[in-house]
């Protein structure tokens, strides 16, 4: 099995330890990764989508065309990349005139969008393509007695109409919970499970307001679940939930710290990866917990 790895800006430059986790996990589960050389930004909402929709779709379609040329599907660990590329593919498949305009732009650089590849979210790929049974059979270290609060990531859930893969009930997500339970952890629901983390356009526009959301989310997790760990499917949620805690502690808004990991980082450690390699850039301390998991 081979799949294209769409890395995404935040992972490549802010959390390359997550990039390393993807590069460890997929081959360990028998999936070869193609680098999709020359890939660019998805692009994300504050850039081309906010200026020129055809330009947005063209940059996205160029990425999809790279995967098409290599005859592979693409995976991403970033829900924003998933949302942007899924919207691009959906538009190009349902709107002929837009597709023609995009292909005229792509033709000028010697490329064409054919619609033969697709973007897949790592969480759904692991669930549908690898499957809980194989994951369970492959892990070296289990998470027995570990309690996890999950954060799925908005664009892995909505808008469900355009997504190639989705939850059965998008307002009661279960897949990420099930994938954590397969590793041996408990991952119960909590009241604000669907709340936004506040990363993205909001954080770059007004950090203080963005932190209202992340504080509310963290406090609810702590109060209702008191989890050992937060596990997310999205690199943006990872960065926000991980970096906001130190800030909120210094402001006296919270008096606790909960380690945060992307699911692929956690899975990598369960499969035998060195914690420092796949989660070494976390700001909220997590290595003590991962080392304990490795010791069993």
């Amino acid at each position: 099995m081979k799949v294209g790895f769409f890395i995404g800006c935040n992972i490549a430059f802010n959390r390359p330890d997550l990039e390393q986790a993807v590069r460890y996990t997929f081959p360990a589960l028998g999936v070869e990764l193609d680098d999709l050389e020359g890939q660019s930004c998805c692009p994300t909402w504050g850039t081309m989508p906010s200026i020129d929709p055809v330009g947005w779709y063209a940059v996205g379609a160029r990425n999809l065309a790279i995967a098409e040329e290599k005859r592979v599907e693409m995976i991403t660990a970033c829900s924003t990349c998933y949302g942007s590329l899924a919207k691009t593919a959906h538009k190009l498949q349902t709107h002929r005139e837009t597709r023609n305009r995009v292909n005229r732009l792509l033709k000028s650089i010697g490329k064409e969008y054919r619609g033969t590849s697709r973007i897949r979210h790592v969480v759904y790929y692991l669930y549908h393509e690898i499957g809980p049974e194989k994951i369970k059979a492959s892990i070296k270290h289990g998470l027995e007695r570990l309690s996890v609060a999950i954060q799925p990531g908005c664009l892995s859930l909505w808008p469900s109409e355009i997504q190639p893969e989705k939850e059965a009930d998008v307002f009661h997500p279960k897949i990420l919970r099930e994938l954590c339970e397969v590793l041996g952890a408990s991952a119960p629901p909590y009241s604000r499970i669907l709340d936004c983390c506040g990363m993205g356009g909001m954080r770059s526009t007004d950090m203080e307001k963005s932190f209202i959301l992340v504080e509310r989310k963290l406090v609810t997790m702590k109060k209702e679940l008191n989890p050992d760990l937060i596990v997310t499917g999205c690199s943006s949620c990872l960065i926000q939930l991980d970096t906001a805690q130190e800030f909120l502690q210094n402001k006296g808004k919270i008096n606790f710290a909960i380690p945060v990991l992307h699911y692929v980082q956690l899975l990598a450690v369960c499969l035998g990866a060195e914690p420092q390699q796949v989660a070494g850039l976390a700001r909220t301390p997590v290595l003590h917990l991962l080392n304990k998991i490795r010791e069993g």
Binding site: I7, C9, A12, F13, P16, D17, E19, Q20, R23, E37, G38, Q39, S40, C41, P43, T44, W45, G46, T47, M48, P49, S50, I51, D52, P53, V54, G55, A58, V59, R62, G83, L105, L106, S108, I109, K111, C154, L155, W158, P159, S160, E161, V170, D195, C196, G198, G200, G201, M202, S204, T205, D206, K209, S210, I212, L213, R216, Q277, G280, L281
Partner: protein, 187 residues
């Protein structure tokens, strides 16, 4: 009720810009006139939860009343998370996400965009990534990864392709990147 010393702004609806909703439709908010202001979108919106004055429902309301200047002078649309909760829940398939994007497209044509947005756009053109940290090479190396990921940052030809596409979009008319070699294409 106002407390003593508090003021509020009176909006003169007769001064609204006629045809604003049509402009939004052309910019991608095609189904804006289907909105019945039911508020389902607002009930799910992170902007509303965080206390921004103009979240999805109110942006649509302001557009329908032609209040372009009011929206151009407010930062809320740029704080939209593009999370698509609104698009998922809208019973009239208005797609409020597209309306927020359309409003931003109107705003950038009036140069009403925040510095952080300009930074991301410029970065997309310069290196092919909206988010880029030039100092990421060292931590990448420490993790055993190549200093540059296998993207446009490591591939000048690939970057030239992305730049060539961008120069043929309306981005090239905004003065943020070099002007288009083939003139203005519009949206």
């Amino acid at each position: 009720m106002l407390r003593s010393g508090e003021t509020f702004e009176i909006i003169n609806l007769s001064k609204g810009e006629a045809g604003f909703a049509e402009e939004i439709k052309k910019m991608g908010g095609e189904r804006i006139l289907e909105c019945i202001q039911c508020g389902k979108c607002a009930a799910t919106c992170p902007l509303a939860l965080a206390g921004f004055p103009f979240f999805n429902k109110r942006v649509i309301h302001a557009i329908l009343n032609g209040l372009k200047e009011v929206l151009l002078n407010d930062i809320s649309i740029w704080a939209c998370q593009s999370c698509n909760r609104c698009t998922e829940t809208c019973p009239r398939r208005v797609d409020p996400f597209e309306i927020m994007m359309a409003m931003r497209r109107v705003a950038v044509r009036k140069y009403a965009l925040p510095a952080t947005a300009i930074k991301g756009i410029k970065s997309l053109y310069d290196v092919g990534h909206a988010v880029y940290l030039s100092e990421a090479g060292e931590p990448r190396k420490k993790l055993g990864l190549p200093e540059k990921p296998p993207t446009t940052v490591a591939d000048p030809e690939a970057l030239a392709e992305v730049q060539s596409i961008l120069r043929k979009t309306s981005l090239a008319t905004l003065g943020i990147i070099p002007m288009g070699e083939f003139g203005i294409f519009g949206i």
